[in-house]
Each structure stands twice: as C-alpha cells, then as structure tokens.
C-alpha cells in the first residue's frame, strides 16, 4: 500500500503475467461455458482453458524462463496450434500481435503497452472483421483500448490508465447483454440472442482484467 508505484517493469521476469492469465482461465472455465450455453454451444470455457493450459507446457519446455514477449508468443502459438474454430485465431492473433509489438522492448511501459494493445485489437478485427455492436469480444476490446489511450492522453499514470481500461472493458462486456448477435454461432438465433452476455466478450473482460492486475502488481512490487 505504501510501496512505490513505478511506471515500467522489465520484460524479463514478466512471464508471470501470462501464467496468471492461464490460472485465471482455468478458474473461469465453467462460468464461460455456462454463458456460451445460453446462446452458443456451451464450449467457450472448455475451448479457452484447453488452449491456455497447453501454453504452460510450452513455456515450461523452454531452456530458460521466457520474457513477456516470448511468453505471449508461446500463448499465441499454443492457441493457434491447439484451438480450431474461432477462438484460436482470434485470441492467437491478439496475443501474437501483442508479442510482436513488445518483442524489441526491454521494459513494459504505458506507451508500449498501449501500442501492443492497439496492435492486438487490430489483429482481432483483421482476422474476425467484427465491429462494436456485433456482440463479440470486440465489444469489450474497443472501449477498453479507447479508454486506456484517453487516460494516457489525459496524463494519467500507467496504473490508472489500466484501471480505466478495465472499467471500460466491464462496461463493454455488460453492453453485450442487450445486443443481438450478428457474428458467430449465436447470430443464427436472431432476436433470441438478446438478453444474455456474450461469452467471448466475457472471457475478454477477464483477460484484460487479469493483464491489468498482473501489470499493476509488477509496477508495485519493484
């Protein structure tokens, strides 16, 4: 509580951020599948935790603990290798783009995190062509990204910008409840898809929330 709040953390030793994502996904497995069951085929939690848990094996297989960019690459590659359907390429593309954006960086700071986040969101849109309002993870991602950058522009520090990002992500996730699905499996239901949360938007909120927590922990811990 009284610790110093840093504005960056070294990439080396930041693989824990990915490990936290993996742990989180295992915890949310049942809940995410339950949400997907309402208007999808009830496998979102299974798909996600299957892909994420395999990433742990890949990271463990390395000669030395990866830095954050390499850990994100491991996660991306595992998703691209382990999950077909849409989640593999969407989240695989998201983490791959983040990894690439960070691969030349020695430390993680507000600026390059923002660039990585934008690049990840671009990849998701490039791969999936979803727009805000389609009831997908884009409904979480876009407002989260925009809030983060707005906070930075308003001069807020890294940790505060992350808080803004998470708050906007939560709003974005909640916004999917009243949307009609226009993409993916749920779109077949038409108006019947209205009234429940979107599974992908929910997993995406958990991911951004976990990222923010882990980064903030790293900023504080030093």
């Amino acid at each position: 509580m009284s610790q110093v709040q840093n504005q960056s953390l070294p990439m080396r030793g930041a693989a824990y951020i990915v490990e936290n994502l993996i742990d989180m996904m295992a915890l949310q497995r049942a809940y995410l599948s339950e949400i997907d069951g309402a208007i999808g085929d009830g496998d979102h939690g299974i798909n996600m935790s299957k892909g994420f848990s395999q990433a742990r094996t890949r990271m463990a297989g390395r000669a030395q603990t990866p830095d954050l960019a390499a850990a994100l690459d491991d996660l991306a590659m595992t998703l691209l290798e382990g999950i077909g359907g849409s989640m593999g390429p969407l989240y695989g593309g998201f983490f791959l783009a983040m990894s690439e954006a960070l691969s030349t960086q020695g430390e993680l700071n507000a600026k390059n995190f923002g660039a990585a986040l934008s690049s990840g969101v671009d990849a998701v849109q490039d791969v999936g062509s979803a727009q805000v309002g389609d009831k997908t993870l884009i409904d979480t991602l876009i407002p989260a990204r925009d809030a983060y950058h707005a906070a930075l522009e308003a001069g807020q520090p890294f940790a505060a910008a992350l808080d803004e990002m998470v708050a906007a992500a939560k709003q974005g996730q909640e916004s999917t409840r009243m949307l009609q699905a226009r993409l993916g499996r749920a779109s077949r239901l038409g108006e019947r898809s209205i009234g429940v949360l979107d599974a992908g938007a929910t997993s995406c909120y958990f991911i951004l929330e976990s990222l923010a927590q882990s980064v903030k922990q790293g900023l504080t811990a030093q």
Binding site: L80, E81, S86, P89, V127, L183
Partner: protein, 335 residues
C-alpha cells in the same frame, strides 16, 4: 445412437489412424497429426493445393487428397475448423516452391484460421493465395454473395485447380481457374433428418418426420424453408428453381452436375434425384457434360441431398475431364 466408435472425443484421431493405414500407398500424415499429405505433393515448381475443414463430411476433405487433386489437407474436429497451425502445416507440406493455393469454404472459423495460417506461412517466406468457396445459394441473397457458405461445389473447384496445377500452370493461373470455377458454381441442399455428433450425443437441430428443410447447411444451419416432404420430381424442380436463375444458367448452357448424399440417403435415391434433375435440365435446354453422383460431401448420418451445378466453358470442361485419382473421386484417363 448406434455408432462404430471408441471414445467419442477421439473419433477424429481414430479415423485418421485407420485412414492413413488404409491409404499409406498414396498419402501420409505430416508431423502434425492433423495434416494429411499426398505422396505426390511438393513436386518442385508445381503449385501446391491445400484445403481443410471440420471432420464429419467424409470423404471431404481428406478424401480429395490425391493425384490431379489436392496435395495436403488440414483436419478439424467434427464440424469445426482446423487450427491455424494445421492449415499452416498443410501449406508447408504442399509447397514445392511454386506457391500454394488454399481453396476452402466460407465459414467464419475457416476464414480466421486460414488468415492466421497465411500470416505464419508468410513469416517463413512462403507464397500463399486463397480462393473461398461460396456456392451455397440458400445461405445468403445474391446481393450478399460473399456471405454465402461453401459446400459441395468445392469438389469441382479442387478438381479443376488440381488439373491445372498438374499440367504445370503457375499460381496466378491456378487461382484464376479456381475462382472462376466457384464463381460459375451454384449449390443447394435439402435436409431430411438431423445428425448426431458422437461427443454431443444428441442432435442439435431437428427435422420432423414428413418434413424437409430446403437450403439447409452442411452442419444443420437453418435453410430458407421448412415444408412437407415432396416427391423427388418436385425436389429437383425446387432445387433447380433456386439454382438456375441465380447465376443464371440459361438455355444452351452446358453444366457439370454433382449430386451428393448427406450421409444416410441411399445411393438409389441420389440416382432417382439425378434422373429428375436431368429431366428438368433437358426441358430447359441445358446440357449435362459430366455428372457426379454419390456420398461426396456428407454430414455424418444426415439424410438429405445437395445439388451442385457448374456452368462450363471450354477450358473448364477440359480440366474437369483430366484424370485424377483419390479416395473420393477418380476420373479415368481413358474417358
């Protein structure tokens, strides 16, 4: 649910084991166990042909790996896109230095995985281009033609591109011919019963006895009309009324016709339907050049049929007539 399976979660693995054992003379499995590769693949300079898709459509997709056809196929879970890595590995296996054409069907998952696969392949300097089949007329109006799904018309696209690659055409020409083929191809399906994915254990859609679903998709995607069942005569008319005006196919045109059973509809009935299709096409003054009838693109044990018409011209006709050999389709050289 009376099935010939072991663990319902491992049906794809178990199928592949048997498939590769049965056809080890003509194909093999890549290092990635979800990639099947023709023994004739990756010939120096020849364009490589790749496809992929969910399982449960056998002999599609893996049955069209062979000479004069596809070089490598990425295999997904039942009714679910292969991973980006599998598409990528299929591309690597098919590459002989002449570039690779990925010819696949328009489904969200496949689109995304192919996109990521190409990104991965381009990192390693491979040249990859794609054609996305969208022959299923009932899946979107003509004004949104790019949204249409790919169904059995893909087989004709593979056949023609395969013949083009075999005779040494370059990547640009192979892509042009594949794109032209699918642009000239129209399909529609009728569903008569649902099917059960073993790991799910129950049907995720139903077609009541005595009813049929016109325009149904290969995974039970809703069609455009659920109606009482008709005679084969009327089914043929209904399907051609959907297909013919869409391209359009007109008096004097020549077409290749492909009838596929969806799994449980007997071959006898597929030929009954073919007879009715040819009756109607005769009456319309449309010539049939080369019919294909059989369980060519299925949906597990679904009852029903799909009809595909490809409007031919000289270059497509020649390529369609070229010899090929695979589990799903063989065209003899002497024909």
């Amino acid at each position: 649910m009376n099935r010939v399976i072991n663990d319902p979660d491992l049906v794809v693995e178990d199928m592949l084991k048997g498939y590769v054992r049965a056809h080890s003379d003509t194909l093999s499995v890549a290092e990635n166990p979800r990639v099947i590769v023709a023994r004739t693949a990756a010939q120096p300079g020849r364009v490589g042909l790749v496809t992929g898709g969910g399982s449960g459509h056998e002999p599609a997709f893996l049955g069209y790996v062979g000479s004069g056809l596809l070089d490598a196929v990425a295999v997904g879970e039942i009714f679910s896109s292969p991973t980006a890595k599998s598409f990528h590995d299929a591309v690597v296996a098919a590459d002989g230095g002449g570039g690779v054409a990925v010819l696949y069907g328009n489904y969200a998952g496949d689109n995304m995985n192919v996109k990521m696969a190409i990104r991965m392949a381009e990192r390693s300097g491979l040249v990859v281009r794609t054609v996305v089949a969208n022959d299923d007329v009932a899946s979107a109006p003509k004004t949104e033609i790019a949204k249409r799904r790919g169904v059995a018309g893909e087989i004709l696209m593979w056949k023609i591109a395969g013949a083009a690659a075999a005779r040494g055409e370059g990547l640009g020409e192979v892509i042009r011919l594949a794109q032209k083929t699918i642009d000239q191809t129209r399909s529609v399906g009728i569903g008569l019963s649902s099917c059960i994915i073993p790991a799910v254990g129950k049907a995720n859609f139903t077609i009541p006895d005595g009813q049929m679903e016109v325009g149904i998709g290969h995974h039970g995607e809703p069609g455009i009309q659920v109606t009482h069942i008709r005679s084969a005569h009327d089914m043929a008319d209904l399907m051609l009324d959907i297909i013919l005006p869409d391209l359009p196919i007109l008096r004097g045109d020549e077409v290749a016709v492909l009838v596929s059973g969806l799994g449980a509809t007997p071959l006898m009935e597929q030929y009954i339907l073919y007879g009715e299709l040819s009756r109607r096409l005769d009456a319309e003054g449309v010539g049939i050049q080369r019919p294909f009838v059989g369980n060519l693109f299925t949906s597990l044990e679904m009852m029903g049929v799909t009809v595909t018409l490809l409007k031919l011209d000289d270059e497509l006709r020649d390529l369609l007539a070229a010899p090929c050999q695979s589990v799903g389709l063989s065209v003899g050289g002497e024909r």
